[in-house]
């Protein structure tokens, strides 16, 4: 077993990792996946799916009960010290010093990694220019989006090979979210492997590959397009004036496979292709008014819902 020193092609390797909290809470069960070098990998799943647990194990903050995990070829349990100096980690909760200024935070994290802001400035330059006007401001007084940018700068200041981001866009406004993802794309071009978790399905399409995770199990790993194309059922978007009753009624419809709220519409997946008129007639029979039915393009959310119901 001398493979830890050998350069592996994968940036992150996870093999049947399990973690249990207490007696009944199985946070992760037999999770396995790999992330290639320079890949932007998304962990998509609802709250409590096990995303944070997985990232904390990779960040060497938590010990797994079973299984193995390697970051950049280093085993998380044995080589945690090497991992700590070569990864950038952004916890889900803002974890910088709120009473220190933007500049002081960055300076502090640079120094404890034994580097300087100057040395790796080109890496954070794009992000830091946006923070520059506020560099004397205390971190606690920044807006949500700015806090995320600062946290990303601090996670990048020592030029990590792997970046672990735990729900970086939760609680951030849509514009800042978009900016944040653009930053991640630029970092990817600089050969940094990024593992990012998010509860937002729409962000999945921005990743190279995603793993759908639920209740500690990985449901599917694929490119976003692949996950969507795996969804092979006919899909319709339906709306009426009584949305709540609509979902109940559609679920009882004999040809219905599943029905989930999706924005203003209910996405209805069908067992077999039938005429929309049949559905219209069914709903009219249930005394629905303002019925609107149109074909819909499957999204990753539909695919995820589908995978969830299969469980």
């Amino acid at each position: 077993m001398n493979d830890t020193t050998m350069p592996t092609t994968q940036a992150i390797q996870v093999e049947s990792l399990s973690k249990r909290y207490g007696k009944n809470a199985q946070a992760l069960s037999q999770v396995s996946f790999e992330v290639g070098r320079g890949e932007l990998f998304g962990l998509i799943g609802p709250d409590g799916a096990g995303k944070t647990t997985l990232i904390r194990i990779l960040a060497t903050l938590l010990l797994a009960d079973e299984g193995q995990a390697r970051v950049n070829g280093w085993e998380v349990r044995r080589d945690y010290r090497k991992i700590r100096s070569h990864i950038g980690y952004m916890p889900g909760r803002f974890s910088l010093y709120q009473d220190l200024s933007v500049e002081e935070n960055l300076h502090f994290f640079a120094t404890i990694f034994g580097t300087t802001i100057k040395e790796n400035y080109e890496l954070i330059h794009d992000i830091y220019v946006q923070l520059e006007p506020f560099r004397k401001r205390k971190a606690g007084k920044l807006s949500g989006g700015m806090k995320q940018k600062l946290a990303l700068c601090c996670a990048l200041i020592h030029k990590p090979v792997v970046l672990l981001l735990d729900e970086p866009t939760t609680g951030v406004d849509p514009v800042s979210r978009q900016e944040f993802w653009e930053m991640l794309k630029r970092l990817k071009e600089k050969d940094i492997t990024i593992l990012v978790s998010t509860p937002y399905m729409d962000e999945a399409s921005l990743c190279d590959r995603v793993a759908l995770i639920q209740k500690g199990n990985i449901l599917s790993i694929d490119e976003p397009g692949g996950i969507v194309s795996a969804f092979d059922k006919p899909l319709l978007a339906v709306r009426t004036n009584d949305m709540y009753r609509l979902i109940q009624d559609l679920r009882e419809f004999e040809s219905a496979h599943s029905a989930f709220p999706f924005g203003e519409y209910v996405h209805l997946a069908l067992r077999n292709s039938i005429w929309p008129e049949a559905i219209h007639a069914y709903l009219a029979g249930k005394e629905h008014t303002g019925i609107e039915i149109k074909p819909a393009q499957a999204t990753i959310e539909d695919a995820f819902m589908e995978l969830m119901t299969q469980e």
Partner: protein
């Protein structure tokens, strides 16, 4: 080494950034020292005395004038019945009353003996004890005087009698402030050391910053030293301020070596900071840490021998004080500052404190985990 320096710098930046912290750390202790030292005076003055003089004789007048002359007593009223006097105690107007029965004078002359009654309100036990002692001393004095005078007129020969006088070594004027200030200083340094260090690490947990620190290459010992060093320095600075105040305001005699005080304080602070650290390793919020620290401190302070002498505690309590670091430092302060004890006199204190410092800190470091 450099990493520790960075952490220390960050800590100082954070400590002095808070507008409350600076006065809290440096001004409050001075105010507390000045107020506490003046207030924590065990001498009981102005005891309200009510007098029931049913004799109205020369002897009773002499006795009363002796009480009047004492600065410990305030005569607040006279009456003829003990029932009335008792009402005065009930209403709180008097702390004790002295009843001089009829024929007091006659009894003294004819039978060479007479009785007096002293009734003390003992709700405040300390005050009652002292009031009783003071009153007895005055009566004794009166007794001795009257015997001498009358013996002269009667037989011409003075009676044989022992009179005991006191000489208070190391604190000749029995100045309570001299006695209290070194002890109070210990308290202040302890408070700052334990609370600030304990709160500080828990705060990182509570706010979540520890999560970010834990993934850095900072080693456990670096983090802990970097965290404790600032408070160790602050506490020593505070001790210095306190000593200067003690010297300027309270005229504390610096009989022994200051180096000895500082070396002991340096080790003592390791124990206190280590305790704070230990508390912070098994608490999750600042509130929890505050309660546990406070619980420990109350016991440490009340059993430190600062307010009640350790010698007067029951044996089991005395045994407990052997584990009380505050008690050791209070004793060392008093011994060195007031008595001029040298290293050999307090070498046992040093050994105990060193052992405690080692034990507490090892326990704390083992208990602190970066990974869980």
């Amino acid at each position: 080494m450099r990493t520790i320096l960075f952490i220390v710098r960050k800590e100082f930046l954070q400590i002095f950034r808070h507008k409350v912290m600076l006065p809290l750390i440096f001004l409050m202790p001075i105010i507390q020292l000045v107020i506490l030292a003046h207030a924590a005076d065990f001498e009981v003055k102005n005891i309200n005395l009510h007098i029931v003089d049913q004799d109205k004789s020369l002897a009773s007048q002499q006795l009363i004038s002796k009480f009047q002359a004492s600065r410990n007593f305030n005569i607040v009223g006279y009456s003829f019945s003990s029932r009335l006097a008792f009402d005065k105690i009930q209403s709180g107007d008097a702390d004790l009353f002295l009843e001089i029965p009829p024929h007091f004078h006659r009894g003294l002359i004819r039978d060479n003996k007479a009785s007096l009654q002293l009734s003390v309100n003992a709700i405040n036990g300390v005050q009652a004890g002292l009031a009783n002692a003071y009153a007895n001393a005055i009566i004794q004095d009166f007794n001795g005087q009257i015997r001498t005078e009358w013996a002269k007129t009667r037989a011409g020969a003075a009676p044989a009698g022992l009179s005991i006088t006191y000489s208070n070594w190391f604190n000749p004027e029995m100045n309570y402030k001299t006695f209290m200030v070194p002890g109070i200083l210990v308290l202040l340094v302890t408070l700052i050391g334990m609370f600030l260090s304990g709160m500080n690490i828990v705060k990182e947990k509570e706010i979540g910053t520890i999560e970010q620190i834990n993934v850095t290459p900072i080693r456990k010992y670096q983090f802990i030293i970097g965290k404790l060093l600032p408070f160790w320095i602050i506490a020593l600075v505070e001790l210095s301020i306190g000593l200067v105040v003690g010297w300027l305001v309270f005229d504390i005699p610096f009989v022994g070596s200051l180096w000895l005080i500082y070396s002991f304080a340096a080790i003592y602070l390791l124990v206190v900071l280590g305790l704070g650290l230990l508390v912070s390793t098994f608490t999750e919020t600042q509130q929890q840490a505050m309660f546990i620290s406070w619980f420990l401190l109350i016991i440490f302070i009340l059993m430190s021998g600062l307010f009640t002498p350790i010698e007067s505690m029951p044996e089991w309590a005395q045994a407990i004080t052997h584990f009380n670091p505050v008690a050791y430092f209070v004793e060392v302060m008093r011994m060195v500052l007031l008595k001029g004890s040298n290293f050999m006199d307090i070498r046992l204190h040093f050994i105990v404190m060193l052992t405690a410092a080692l034990a507490v800190n090892v326990l704390a470091v083992v208990n602190y985990r970066k990974t869980n």
